[in-house]
Amino acid sequence: MSPRGLMPMLILLAALALVPAFGSNTSINFLVSALIVALAAQGWNLLGGFCGQFSFGHAAFFGTGAYVDAVLQARYGVNAWAASAVAIAAGAGVGWLIGFLSFRAGLRGSYFALITLAFAEVLRISANAAPITGGATGLLLKLDARAANFQFASRGVFCLIALTCVALVLALSVWIARGRLGAQFAAVRENEDAARALGIDVLATKLRAISLSAAVTAAAGCLYTQYFLYLDANIAYGSWISVEALLAVIVGGISTPAGPIFGALALHALGEVTRLIARGVTGIDLVLFGLILIAAIAFAPTGLAGLASRLRRALG
């Protein structure tokens, strides 16, 4: 992606940074939820978009990040910032492990997707039963809004932190996409055998992709924990986050650095708009949401990023 191509994204991020200063709490809260999903989606994109390994189980990484962060604080009294750092590392570790087990066994395509789903489910059921995670009653962090606790009295500050994370990962994605690692990812994505023939260590490349991807998604989990201060197994390891991360990327534009951010914001905005339109009948907004989603996928199969570049071509 050229520096000029990044301009709309940078303008968007700068505009979003103004929301905490001028927006209402409702809009800030909306933005934080969307940014957490955007971050998870950026993580998914690193593995699924750049390296071509579709995962249905990014909840495994999101949940690990969220739980490690929460457990360290609630059970061991670790400082929230330190706990978050450990949680991101733990997420990367789980990513590496799942990658090692499944890639080494040669699982590709739908088989890899299914095994990630299975890992996420195993983690969900274990977290639901284990005493350390609080089992099914979940884990609650004490509300104590101080910067040292990674909790803020103003939602705006948290929003800026989430935005910073998203911007950092965007920069990382652009850097990877342009660099040697990105080229290796793309080679593995397009044709594994050809990549191997070129001398690329396919397993190592995939492991790098999944560890990076897991670390970013785990960071999203940490943000979730710090923002909502409550976790249970269905939130942390539930399939909702796997689906949202995947949808955001597909809607936004797969394997483009900015796609996940556009996608997450667009999906969340759509959710809110359909809710405003359809206030009267319970659940009708979800039906509308689904219909618009189907239309979007049917008419913009390359996502919003693809749609934008098609429009640009058509216009000039």
Partner: protein, 401 residues
Amino acid sequence: MPHPILTRRTALAATAGLLAAPGILRAQPAAVKLGILQPVTGALSQDGELGRLGATLAIDAINAAGGIKSLGGAKIEMVFADARSNPEAATQEVERLQGDGVVAIVGGFASPICLAASQAASRYDLPYVVDVGVADSIVTRGLTNTFRFAPGFGAFTSVAISNLAKLNEAAGKPIKTVVLVHEDGLFGAGLAKLMNAELPKIGLEVLETIPHPTPSRDMSNVALRIRALNPDLVIPSSYYNEFVLLARTMQQQRIRPKGVYAVLNGAASNYRFVKEFPEAADLVMDCNHWFHPTKPLALAVKKQVEAAGKFMAYNVPLNYSCVGLVADAIERAGSADRAKVLAAIASSTFAGHIMPYNETKFVGGQNQGAQPVNLQVQNKDIKVIFPAAFADAKPVFPVPA
């Protein structure tokens, strides 16, 4: 000659006065907005709808009776929010309710929703009244804005066990052995652990603890295991579908222990189960939330609910009562100011509810007057058998063979 001239200015003033007068006389005091948060889409929608029904009935009743009198008859306006069966959506809705300027929020239903929503509301010192959520952590976090009108998990287990001991004692100790069946999630696992620790203390032997996942589509293995163990009592803690399956399978296999004693069971105190499977439900006991079985107001609400084609599940009376609690607090505060309403709830002695509770008294956000009751399905109806002060039937125990 000086005439009393009607100047233009006087005329204008007079006209303005005349126009304004009816406005002053008939001025409706501004409605008081009350947030009702329920999960009406997603997995918990059935419960959420019942909660909404209870709140709607209460608000209609209060408005029909003249609204908030200390505010000149101000009506209560419901601002409904859909928690969508998950905590993030609930938090988002709390922000919206805050933006809409509600004076308090009632509802939540599930513990995770109540935990997240009350915490979001605490940022604005917005009073939050939990309708059901039984997790004890809801009222032990030190949030000053959060109140729970109904009893929590700890109260349920201790009341359930002490009432079981009393029941067994009164019947001449027919029960010696127990099998625990529990779903492996929220209530089930924790409850089974507590039961395993507490039942031996009242002289009961736990033969086996059988967990099952939710959802389960077949309970034959569990039923066969119960038959093999042949316990005097079965204690199931499952959600609606699984317990219905278990009860039906036990009925088909003619497994008749001396009693089935459920705690916070999804089905044992549900009119739908009693109506659809009267034989399987017969004489099943439960320890749960329930409405006051003899209070005329409670029975009138039940009639209204049935007239609307719904079943009187516990969500309805709990939400009805919680809305009444908040309305009473606004009435006494004489203001829609949140801090005053909060203080009024905290010092509430509200008695206009329809639950079988003693005097309302909040300590640390938990209503000390709240208590679970024991129920039994008798003659295709659900009767309260404990505590004696509220009971409308005597326990049938042990179940006649």
